[in-house]
């Protein structure tokens, strides 16, 4: 497989840079800086040190024996990204972009956030590296994730509630881009997912591929062979692309991205961009998109704020079209059931986002055999969601 993206930031027809002219030189400069610094041994050393000593990598690849036995025959492993500092995979990318920002001489960083995980990760990194931080968050999400708002403030970040559009992740992303256009000269935009204009999808993938690189090594150690299925939840798709990327050449490994079906893909309330979307340009890149016939972007819906996004990373759209990865929808209810099952069988409370991946494996389990090995990317922990789960279930357990 040739190296993607190409020089225009394209993965096949997807990706690119669809942004106001004001940002073009900043994106070109960012790409050059990324190419320059990421090759430097001192950059790699600083990042490796922080990932290990600060965030606690590598994260375990845990054999979930009780879950496996409960579901049937296949062996199920969990890649424990939830054990990272700040509780999710988001810190991998935030640390890397933070270190890059520092090398580029930027003192101010901004970020968009949905569930608040990327916002918390960015606020954390800004505190660690002594930078000023502003986080844009849809007003709706500031309510759903009030605890994370306070967490970011504790870390010294300013949280800017976004009142435009549907007041969720997509609007936070729009507002972060607008702010960046106005402050492009002294501000670094730490984008949290594998979306947006080139070079972000490439950069975020490369900063998250540590998930898949470690998993590959760990499963070879534990089982002496590669897994049959690798499953990850997908909103914008950063944990999924980080997990998938090192396995792309291993054709025997099935890659499965799990998107949020909300109340069901047959309803109007879902975030199933791959199942129901069409090609379009959104937030700087060409990809699949939830939109109407006239190209107006539609609002997404999911119980999980991190998956509640009408777009998807361009590389995922490419992997879907070349049929290297498969993308399937999972409903709110299925994710909640999976969350509770994982709590009870393994004593692990997953994030609602990650619970979607668990739910997909529950659905697949009856068709798997005792030789099958499945890896789930457990992208984050569920502490942040406990309150909304309580509200959803009325405090009752299913």
């Amino acid at each position: 497989m040739t190296q993607l993206p190409d020089q225009n930031g394209r993965f096949g027809e997807f990706g690119g840079r669809f942004v106001p002219e004001t940002l073009m030189n900043a994106l070109i400069h960012l790409e050059e800086s990324y190419n320059h610094y990421s090759e430097e041994p001192s950059f790699q050393e600083e990042l490796s040190y922080l990932l290990k000593q600060y965030s606690g990598r590598e994260t375990p690849l845990y054999y979930a024996e009780r879950l496996s036995k409960h579901l049937g025959k296949a062996k199920i492993y969990l890649k424990r990204e939830d054990l990272n500092h700040t509780g999710a995979h988001k810190i991998n990318n935030a640390l890397a972009q933070g270190v890059l920002a520092k090398r580029m001489g930027k003192q101010k960083v901004i970020a968009e956030t949905g569930a608040g995980q990327h916002g918390v990760a960015t606020a954390t990194v800004a505190a660690l590296l002594g930078m000023e931080c502003k986080v844009f968050m849809g007003e709706e999400d500031t309510k759903r994730q009030a605890l994370n708002v306070f967490r970011m403030q504790l870390l010294g970040a300013e949280v800017v509630p976004v009142l435009s559009g549907s007041r969720t992740l997509k609007d936070a992303g729009n507002e972060a881009l607008r702010y960046w256009v106005s402050n492009v000269e002294d501000t670094f935009y730490i984008l949290g997912s594998a979306v947006g204009p080139h070079p972000y999808p490439m950069m975020v993938r490369n900063f998250q591929r540590i998930i898949g690189d470690e998993t590959r090594r760990q499963i070879l150690e534990a089982e002496g062979r590669l897994p049959d299925h690798v499953v990850a939840a997908i909103g914008g798709g950063s944990n999924a692309i980080g997990m998938f990327y090192p396995f792309i050449e291993d054709k025997e490994v099935a890659l499965i991205g799990v998107e949020a079906a909300g109340k069901g893909v047959e309803t109007a309330f879902h975030a199933a961009t791959m199942s129901k979307g069409t090609k379009g340009v959104f937030q700087g890149s060409m990809s699949y998109l939830l939109q109407d016939n006239f190209g107006q972007v539609q609002e997404a819906f999911s119980i999980s704020a991190g998956l509640d996004y009408p777009g998807v990373g361009p590389e995922h759209s490419y992997l879907k079209d070349i049929e290297r990865a498969k993308y399937v929808p999972v409903t709110d209810q299925e994710a909640l059931d999976a969350l509770q099952l994982l709590c009870r069988t393994e004593g692990i409370i997953p994030a609602l986002e990650s619970a979607h991946a668990v739910a997909q494996v529950i659905k697949m389990a009856p068709g798997l055999s005792s030789d099958d090995i499945v890896v789930i990317c457990l992208s984050g922990r569920g502490d942040k969601d406990v309150e909304s789960i309580m509200a959803y279930t009325g405090g009752n357990q299913a």
Binding site: N8, G16, R17, F18, V19, P20, E21, T22, L23, M24, N25, A26, S164, G165, K170, N174, L177, R178, V181, S182, N183, V184, E185, T278, K279, G280, V281, F282, Q283, G284, L289, Q291, N293, F294, G295, Q296, V297, Q298
Partner: protein, 268 residues
Amino acid sequence: MNLIDQTFARLKENQQTALIPFLTIGDPDLDTSVEIIAELEAAGADIVELGVPYSDPLADGPVIQRASQRALKHQVNIASCMEAAVKARAAGVKLPFILFTYYNPVLQFDLERFFEEVKKHDISGLIIPDLPVEESAELSKRAEAAEIHLIPLVAPTSNERIKSIVASAKGFVYCVSSLGVTGERSSFFDGVEEFIAQVKEYTDIPAAVGFGISNGEQAAKFARICDGVVVGSAIVRQIEETIPLLQNVDTRQEGLLQIRKFVAQLKA
């Protein structure tokens, strides 16, 4: 000859600067937009930008965002914006129309059919704020074939990109006067005059300035150093403030007159 070129040629002869107002089509409704276009011409506008309301207007500040939201409430889309152009023409408006739209609505139209429609609706140019030169090759080719001007934007941060952006420019070059999104401003970035001079050095086609120009004084200042002045948010805000008058039969004419007066004082 494209109507935009004719307009600039006439203005040059008379040593005048183009006044290029922007309005969001469908705010507060389509019929009113058509009437406002006529008022803009009566107030001295030379070219008008028809803004297609969009769900995610990345390059726009709060004023135009709100106008888009209002227009989208009654399902205004890119096709109905083109209809507005035809209706304005039928009502006697002579000035050239430019469709200002984000790229995605164009893309969903299918590029070939899009240009047929643009021509059919007597639109002379396009401004697509999220389509930099690197991404515009195909659209640009089709635009040229259809004799529709794709107006490029240059920004204060464009620097060495200016030369290649304006090299193949048609109609005029849109110089973004400040860092940031659309919206009224009291000041512009420091090097704005040198920036416009630099653009003019690389091209013979007209240069218009926009983003933030909100009153007659600012418009007059820029009129001295460029060939056209674009005013968007200030007019959209004026329309927003006039909505109560426009929506009442008894005060509608008064509302339209207020908009005309506001635009007339922008004309240098």
